[in-house]
């Protein structure tokens, strides 16, 4: 220990620090300035960037003692007297803040970069230098576009030159709540100031720290766990092992196959075997090293092929199941006559594809804090699904549902990776109960990767037939996905890989067979675009191939086959609004497709693809008769409407969406609305943020609630003023009759409503209509509405190295109605960034079941320099059942972008991509020997 003297944000500190303590730890834990985030702990993500004597440094790899007598500036210092710094203002205004976890580091990096940019004259050059300057800061939400724009505007304006470019989409920061206004998130200021508290930022008094001992074997019986030495380690309070928490859980009722810690055997390298609660992180780490586990290895199943084969009875990964192998789920559906369809097709193509697993890569690691009191358990945790976690905790803790409270604070990105109940959440709850203390845990980035739940490694063979005039005749898919050690959402994933191929094209003869296998690897689950991203890639690649064969423009081929609006698919999905055509037309126009396709030099190419996705599942995961979403509104004497909803804002802007809808219905400004969400004690149930359901379902519930409040107001006013209820208007913070004989301000309205009654509480709900066929499997992929979209990608392929540079993405997405166009663009740009990653650089690689690339250095999320220029177009089709016509925008957009990139590679160099990520070496090999398909595994 040494004494460290330093100034942080102008305030002098004298602190006792460990000799090898890092600056980030001192800032967060000792100075209590939690605006500085730690995303990777290894200097690879930039979230922890602060200024050290005005120079940007990564505080997670800066020794605190190096900063003796230094001045540190953190994000908290930028706003003065509550007023945002100009750069922060730009971040807010441009929509550069989504989940907000990378934001503080991004702002600090940009701030230190800005002075060197003032001399940069031309706007394109300025943007390029900003891209370069921010290329050490990973953002998983925005695709960097709005961040770069924010910094550019700040630089231009602060150098006094004024804007050189007219902004095509000026941000209208209107006070009036209204649908369709470009609007920053309601919490954007808090996030950009570093004041929004994420799960690991909420400092609890005297909390114990939890660390895990994880399995070093992929598949082994646990013969003995000896915790005696570890228990004697100073500062240790409790060590838990698997037998204490034997109750199984899982997000799906049909896959309750996971325990909080391994009980009798471990099923993957990285599975939690024991958990230590200690006074400090260091003590917990050191003690966990003293736990001795004796394993007896059993046969490992590490690939799809191995798991399809027979296993000895004691070798199966899970002992349930009818078959003597490790198949978790088999599903098959057939519609029409595929054999006849393929026979009669003029052209057919059949190819096999391989997809490596990919991970969500959200910047905020999982973190949770649990405590017990007279009200039972309270857990504050980074979750997309407070409701399912609530149920899982009650089940495993063996307490009534009313003894559990789950609170989701601000959340640093999810993308499906925080949509299961997790072992660490259950374990800290257990440790808190055993010790009577608050217990906190924050996973390292390595642990986040081991927790996984990412997109399944998949292999599939897909066959597609078309007529000579380009009409699709038959589609058949044979799919196998590698689920890893546990079920998670896997049964749904299995179905989605197949069923979500029945649109956006008309298909009469369609079928698939799908398998999900267990393997001894970290489990897979739901990730943005759940289930259908890989199979969509296959179909869009084959379509491109057939277009090439019949010498038809691939856009034209798609146009010929699109489903219409208001129709049924072959599997009885009800298609209502459908903007496929408009989307494709838009990207063709913006990319200059017709003038450019086929006329580009070798090495450059354009590619197109389309897609669609559900706006929430029509059926609940857990069969019950609760509405899918309930929203409560409370209006009291002060005129503020409190919106309470169980839905989880995970950075996608759903809290803002709820406020916009209530604002629109009641005609009052956003300042009169307060959203309280995702606290299972205070907020009514919403099933969570997954399957792109929140805008459609929670949005409709909010609209229903607001209409109910409107009805209450109308009833109060008509009773008192004897006016015609149909003649009352709600607008501009007033309620008035058509002839303005009655014209009340909002406070007057509120006085009328609350007179002799007090606060008024109303409820709204959303229940999906009954949909779909009556065959087994008919429920998979049913949704009250579907989004549609198209992408065109432009690539440059280095014909000597095979290196693929994605230069442009033109994307259009039919989201029904953009309630908040700024937020919708953000979702689209983020989707196309993430898809670019899966296309060109992201993959999870294993060595004998051990994840090789469990950090942000080796798991290659595209940096700002690797992300193409993204051109987003919003297509509005006004869905008949969506709130104000809205449907999903968060996931569907990822589907078309990946095959569009691959098809562009084909256009550039004639190489058909059948394996993701695209590998430079496969391209080189196939350019030399076009007949040779890439290594498919």
């Amino acid at each position: 220990m040494q004494q460290l003297k330093l100034k942080i944000n102008g305030k002098q500190y004298h602190l006792l620090v460990e000799d090898h303590e890092m600056l980030s730890h001192v800032i967060r834990e000792k100075a209590g300035l939690t605006g500085t985030k730690v995303g990777c702990g290894q200097g690879s993500c930039g979230a922890c960037t602060v200024l050290l004597n005005d120079k940007a440094v990564l505080s997670c790899i800066t020794p605190a003692m190096r900063c003796d007598n230094a001045e540190i500036t953190t994000i908290e210092a930028l706003a003065t007297e509550g007023k945002l710094h100009k750069l922060q203002e730009k971040f807010v205004e441009k929509g550069a803040v989504q989940c907000g976890f990378c934001t503080p580091g991004m702002v600090m990096t940009a701030l230190s970069l800005a002075p060197s940019l003032h001399e940069t004259g031309e706007i394109g050059q300025l943007m390029a230098r900003i891209k370069e300057g921010l290329s050490g800061n990973l953002c998983r939400c925005t695709g960097y576009k709005k961040i770069i724009e924010a910094v550019a505007e700040y630089v231009v304006e602060s150098s006094g030159k004024g804007l050189q470019h007219a902004d095509p989409n000026p941000s209208r920061l209107s006070d009036n709540g209204a649908v369709g206004v470009r609007r920053p998130y309601i919490e954007a200021e808090k996030k950009v100031k570093g004041l929004a508290e994420y799960a690991d930022d909420i400092i609890s008094k005297n909390a114990l720290h939890c660390k895990f001992l994880r399995s070093t074997y992929a598949h082994a019986l646990i013969e003995e766990i000896d915790i005696r030495d570890a228990l004697n380690f100073p500062g240790v309070h409790y060590i838990a092992t698997g037998k204490e928490l034997p109750v199984k859980f899982g997000v799906l009722p049909i896959s309750q196959d996971e325990t909080a810690m391994a009980v009798d055997k471990v099923r993957y390298i990285g599975e939690i075997v024991a958990a230590v609660a200690a006074d400090s992180e260091e003590a917990a780490v050191e003690a966990s090293k003293l736990i001795r586990v004796r394993y007896k290895p059993i046969r490992e199943f590490l690939s799809i092929e191995e798991s399809l084969n027979d296993a000895g009875e004691d070798e199966k990964i899970h002992d349930y199941g009818k078959f003597n192998n490790n198949i978790h789920k088999k599903a098959e559906l057939r519609f029409g006559d595929q054999q006849a369809g393929l026979r009669e097709a003029d052209f057919t193509v059949k190819k096999s594809f391989w997809f490596d697993g990919v991970n969500h890569g959200f910047t905020e690691p999982h973190a949770a804090t649990a405590s017990w009191d007279e009200n039972g358990l309270t857990i504050v945790t980074a979750t997309q699904v407070p409701h399912y976690l609530h149920r899982a905790l009650a089940k495993v803790m063996e307490v009534p549902l009313n003894r559990v409270r789950v609170i989701k604070p601000y959340l640093g990105g999810g993308f499906g990776g925080k949509s299961d109940p997790f072992p660490h959440e259950i374990i800290v709850s257990h440790l808190a109960r055993k010790t009577g203390r608050t217990v906190r845990v924050c996973l390292s980035r390595e642990e986040v990767f081991l927790t996984n739940h990412g997109r399944h490694p998949s292999k599939m063979t897909v066959e597609l037939g078309i007529s000579k005039d380009g009409l699709m005749q038959a589609l058949d898919a044979d799919i196998a996905i590698d689920g890893g050690a546990y079920g998670s959402f896997g049964v749904v994933t299995s179905y989605y890989n197949g069923v979500l191929l029945q649109a956006p094209y008309r298909l009469n003869n369609f079928g698939f067979r799908t398998y999900r296998v267990y393997t001894n690897k970290p489990q897979c689950g739901a990730m943005r675009g759940h289930g259908a991203v890989n199979s969509r890639f296959a179909v869009e690649s084959l379509l491109d191939d057939l277009a090439h064969q019949i010498n038809m423009d691939p856009c034209e081929l798609r146009m010929k086959n699109f489903l219409d609006s208001n129709t049924l698919t072959v599997g009885q999905y009800r298609i209502t609004s459908n903007g496929s055509r408009e989307s494709l037309e838009k990207v063709m126009e913006l990319s200059g497709w017709k003038n450019r396709i086929g006329k580009m030099e070798k090495g450059r190419g354009l590619g197109v693809a389309c897609g669609f996705f559900i706006s929430g599942s029509a059926l609940p995961i857990i069969w019950n008769e609760l509405p899918q979403s309930v929203v409560h509104l409370k209006l009291d004497f002060d005129g503020r409407v409190l919106v309470t909803s169980g839905s989880s804002d995970i950075g996608q802007g759903s809290d803002t969406m709820l406020a916009i809808i209530v604002s629109e219905v009641l005609g009052i400004g956003m300042d009169k609305i307060f959203v309280l969400a995702a606290d299972t004690l205070l907020t009514p149930v919403d099933f969570g943020s997954y399957s792109s359901r929140v805008t459609f379902m929670a949005g409709n519930a909010a609209k229903d609630a607001a209409q109910n409040l409107r009805t209450e107001i109308i009833s109060a006013l008509t009773k008192k003023y004897n006016t015609d209820p149909d003649e009352l208007n709600f607008s501009g913070n007033r309620v008035f009759s058509n002839d303005k004989t009655l014209d009340l301000s909002w406070p007057e309205v509120v006085d009328n409503l609350t007179a002799n009654r007090g606060a008024v509480c109303v409820s709204g709900k959303y229940i999906s209509p009954k949909l779909g066929g009556d065959f087994k499997g008919a429920g998979a992929g049913l949704s009250p509405s579907y989004s549609f979209g198209a992408c065109i990608a432009e690539v440059e392929v280095d014909t000597e190295t095979g290196y693929v540079k994605v230069t442009n993405i033109w994307g259009a997405h039919d989201c029904g109605k953009a309630l908040n166009p700024l937020a919708v663009e953000g979702q689209l740009e983020g989707s196309w960034h993430m898809g670019t990653g899966q296309a060109i650089s992201e993959q999870m690689t294993y060595h004998k079941g051990l994840l090789m690339n469990n950090n942000f250095l080796e798991y290659k999320i595209p940096t700002s320099l690797d992300t193409p220029d993204i051109h987003a177009s919003i297509i509005e089709t006004i869905d008949p059942e969506g709130p104000f016509g809205a449907k999903e925008a968060g996931e569907g957009a990822i589907h078309p972008v990946i095959p569009a990139i691959a098809n562009a590679v084909f256009n550039a160099v004639g190489v058909r991509i059948t394996r993701l990520p695209i590998r430079a070496e496969d391209i080189l090999e196939q350019m030399k020997d076009p007949g040779k398909a890439g290594d498919k595994r």
């Binding site: 790899i61 990096t109 050490g136 400090s280 390595e446 469990n854 070496e921």
Partner: protein, 313 residues
């Protein structure tokens, strides 16, 4: 007990060396620390004493003459670009420095630190838990190389971006140790042994790098990596052509040490390329396959020769 650690901030080279002598076997010099600290977090470096030399003012100077540039070892990578003489005379060094990691890291990482950057391997740059699960490799006191599945040699990669350029320029380093100060060729400190890749006395400090620019050298630098930022090199090449016609090719990421091929403008360039390819000693311990990296050596060298007008289309 929780192990006790020590952090010492040296203010002069002499002080650093005497502190190092006092903690021999248990210390690590810290320059920027952007690489060393991560190795420490992962348990690859167990030094309990960190002697931070990044603040020593004498090591941050840049002295430029007509034919000799002397660059202090603690000059930050980011500062090389800002120095007009360095960016004017040896732009390839700036290019290499700017290709290191990310812009923020380059504000902390130093030239000296980059020269001594620890060798890397997918089986080595992992946490202690991971390496236990994998079974320890040669570089982690194990008995076999995991990357090759059994070799008794360690193939950890030499990855310094700046050293590749500097060696191609035949740069020297000024090293101070307990016995005094010497000037030695930079290339001479790399052993080719993946486990102990550098032969500099444990307590010695590199004071500066000396680059002769009298021969009007032209250098072409190229780096292979998946992303355009953050990533370590999968292959880097530097080709320097002196006015005299002397050519020096240096490659990083292909061996436990920088691989040097000397030639002249009179040589057949294809022979030089073949020599470079056959001298490399790569295994599959990178995000790109061995075969691919090998193939790209030729592409990079051919392009470099073309840019130096040593071959023509």
């Amino acid at each position: 007990m929780i192990p006790t650690n020590t952090y010492i901030r040296a203010t002069s080279v002499e002080q650093a060396i005497s502190m190092a002598q006092a903690h021999q076997g248990a210390f690590r010099y810290l320059a920027g620390g952007t690489d060393a600290l991560v190795n420490k977090f992962q348990g690859n470096d167990e030094a309990s004493v960190l002697i931070d030399i990044s603040g020593i003012a004498a090591l941050k100077q840049i002295v430029t003459g007509d034919s000799l540039l002397v660059i202090g070892s603690m000059v930050c990578l980011d500062d090389l670009e800002k120095h007009p003489v360095i960016s004017g005379r040896i732009p390839a060094l700036v290019e290499a420095a700017q290709s290191v990691a990310s812009p923020t890291i380059r504000k902390t990482a130093t030239l000296g630190g980059n020269l001594l950057c620890e060798n890397r391997c997918t089986f080595y740059n992992q946490s202690a838990w991971w390496r236990e699960a994998a079974g320890h490799c040669l570089k982690c006191h194990g008995t076999v190389c995991l990357a090759t599945g059994g070799s008794k040699n360690c193939f950890s990669k030499f990855v310094s971006d700046t050293a590749v350029v500097l060696i191609s320029l035949d740069a020297h380093i000024e090293v101070s140790g307990a016995t005094g100060t010497t000037i030695i060729p930079l290339g001479s400190i790399y052993t080719g042994d993946g486990i102990n890749p550098r032969q500099v006395s444990e307590t010695a400090v590199i004071r500066s790098v000396h680059v002769q620019v009298g021969g009007n050298p032209k250098t072409i630098y190229k780096k292979l990596r998946k992303r355009e930022s953050i990533d370590f090199t999968s292959l880097s090449t530097a080709v320097t052509l002196q006015d005299s016609g002397r050519i020096r090719i240096v490659m990083g990421g292909v061996h436990a040490k920088p691989v040097v091929v000397d030639g002249s403008a009179a040589d057949n360039m294809n022979d030089l390329i073949n020599l470079a390819v056959t001298t490399s000693r790569m295994v599959d311990n990178d995000t790109y396959s061995r075969a691919y990296r090998k193939e790209i050596i030729s592409v990079f060298l051919e392009r470099s020769f073309r840019e130096l007008k040593l071959i023509h289309d």
